[in-house]
Each structure stands twice: as structure tokens, then as C-alpha cells.
């Protein structure tokens, strides 16, 4: 899967999982911060993203703290998903 395609897929999953009704997917760029500014997610939302990773990408998360650098933006998250799924394949 192309990186941009994966970014969009993850973005749509996050918006759906977190019920971000007022968020226009087109207004969220791949480099926007996921937390604080940007998409404005919080710590509970971070756990919801872990659910997405485990449920939809079959990625097993053992140490949540290790995810911090991957949770910076959709770009970093997509890179993490791509790397993890490539390893699994």
C-alpha cells in the first residue's frame, strides 16, 4: 500500500473510532500533530489508537510508552504500521 493511501486509511479509522464528527478529513494533514494542537487528541484517544493498531493491523503492543515517537503525526504512525506489518509478512 502506498504511504499516502495508508495515511488516509489510518486517518479515516481514527476519525471513525473517536467519533470526530466535526473533523473534516481533508483538513487534517499527514504532518499535523495528533495530540494537543492538530487533531487535538488526548491520552484516552491514544488508547483508542492502540485498539486500532491491534484490531485492524494485527500489531501487538506490549509497551505503550514505546509508541510515543510513532504517535507524533499520521506520517509517523503510518511509517510504524508499514514497518510492523512488513515484519509480520
Amino acid at each position: 500500500m502506498e504511504k499516502q493511501q495508508l495515511v488516509n486509511e489510518i486517518k479515516n479509522k481514527i476519525i471513525e473510532q473517536l467519533n470526530l464528527v466535526d473533523v473534516d478529513p481533508a483538513s487534517v494533514s499527514a504532518t499535523d500533530p495528533l495530540f494537543g494542537e492538530g487533531m487535538g487528541l488526548d491520552s484516552i484517544d491514544g488508547l483508542e489508537i492502540v485498539v486500532i493498531l491491534e484490531r485492524d493491523y494485527n500489531i501487538t503492543i506490549t509497551e505503550i510508552e514505546s509508541l510515543t515517537p510513532h504517535f507524533e503525526s499520521l506520517n509517523t504512525l503510518a511509517e510504524f504500521v508499514a514497518a510492523q506489518t512488513a515484519v509480520a509478512a
Binding site: 467519533n19 464528527v21 466535526d22 473533523v23 484517544d45 488508547l47 485498539v51 484490531r55
Partner: protein, 207 residues
């Protein structure tokens, strides 16, 4: 100045005046339509469970954006008979569904009915006494007495008092009251009137 808000299926009333009414056939989307009526940008609203959304909307018309009372002298006292039972049931069904091993952390958060206290304190910058009581009495008497004690002991200068229940999309009710120190002298009368308005009607709709 004291101000109250009553929400029942399809209507929001502020100080007795109809503020918002869902259109016929749109009762299912009452909470979303009511949120849009208030024209605020608060994305976290959509993540809340219905119980929290009910409390959030109940406070919106009555908590002043600018107030004299300091955040640390502003409190919130709430009571409910059912608490988060609606969310509890949904969560329980998901946890025990054979085909679902992934539980929503966000949904779990809202199985704590007192989560509404946090939502209100964040939204309205309330830093004083917080209190959430589960009990069966459908009136504001107990909370009124507690609020009076907090006013008299100088712990609060303003307080949000509320009672709420949420069972289903057509079976819920809330009654929220905003009081400030100057209202203290009339608080008994205010509560008697609100109990009559809210809970006499409530007996026909909420059991």
C-alpha cells in the same frame, strides 16, 4: 443570579422558556442537534457518552462565561438515580460479545458516572468542591442542603447543582441549577419551585 435548565426528551428549557426543541422525527439525533444549536466548537462532546452529553448540555445555558466567583470558589454537586447504567450495559454487552475482544478504553471511562464532573470542570473551569451522589430521591433537596453548608463555610461563592438520569433515547431527564451567594437567601424557595417544575413532571416520564 439563579438560573435553571431542564432537559427532557426533545426539549431544553432555560428558566422556564423553551430554548430548543427537536423536530418531529429527529428525536434520535436530539443530542447532536442540541449541540449544534448552541453553536460551540467542542469536539470532545462527540466522544462523551449520552449521560455526560446530557449533563454538558444542561450546564451550557446557565453557567456564565464570565463570573465573579473564583474557579476555586465554584463547585459542582450532582446526583443521579441511574448513573451510567446506559453506558454500563453497552460496555458489558461488548465485553461479553463472543466476536469482539477489543474493548473501547473511551467507553470504559464513561462507565464511571462521575466522569461528568470532570467534563464540567474542564469546560467551565470549576476548581471547587466536586460531589456526585447516586441516590433514588428525585429532587434537589439534599444537594441544596450541602450547597448551603459550603456557602456558609465560605468554601464556595457559586455552585452548579444538578440531578440527571439517562436510560434510553426517549427516557432521560436533567434538572440543573446555577446559584451564587446572593441567591442563598432565596435558595429554599428556588429549590421548592424547581422541584415542583422538574420532578412533578418527571413522575410521569421517569420512573
Amino acid at each position: 443570579m439563579a438560573s435553571y435548565c431542564i432537559i427532557q426528551p426533545s426539549t431544553i428549557r432555560h428558566n422556564g422558556q423553551l430554548l430548543f426543541e427537536a423536530r418531529v422525527g429527529e428525536e434520535q439525533s436530539f443530542f447532536l442537534e442540541a449541540y449544534r444549536y448552541f453553536d460551540i466548537n467542542y469536539p470532545k462532546f462527540h466522544k462523551m457518552d449520552r449521560f455526560c452529553q446530557l449533563g454538558f448540555l444542561s450546564a451550557l445555558p446557565i453557567v456564565p462565561e464570565k463570573r465573579l466567583a473564583a474557579p476555586s470558589k465554584t463547585g459542582v454537586l450532582l446526583a443521579s438515580k441511574s448513573g451510567s447504567i446506559h453506558t454500563d450495559q453497552h460496555y458489558y454487552e461488548k465485553v461479553f460479545a463472543a466476536d469482539n475482544i477489543f474493548y473501547s478504553p473511551a467507553q470504559f471511562t464513561y462507565t464511571l458516572p462521575s466522569a461528568i464532573l470532570g467534563e464540567l470542570c474542564i469546560k467551565h473551569n470549576i476548581q471547587g468542591e466536586n460531589y456526585f451522589l447516586l441516590h433514588g430521591m428525585q429532587n434537589l433537596d439534599l444537594l441544596k442542603d450541602y450547597a448551603k453548608q459550603l456557602f456558609h463555610s465560605q468554601q464556595l461563592d457559586a455552585c452548579l447543582i444538578g440531578w440527571m438520569d439517562y436510560y434510553t433515547t426517549d427516557h432521560f431527564q436533567s434538572c440543573y441549577l446555577w446559584v451564587e451567594r446572593e441567591d442563598l437567601i432565596n435558595l429554599d424557595t428556588i429549590i421548592i419551585n424547581i422541584n415542583k417544575i422538574c420532578f412533578d413532571y418527571g413522575k410521569a416520564t421517569v420512573s
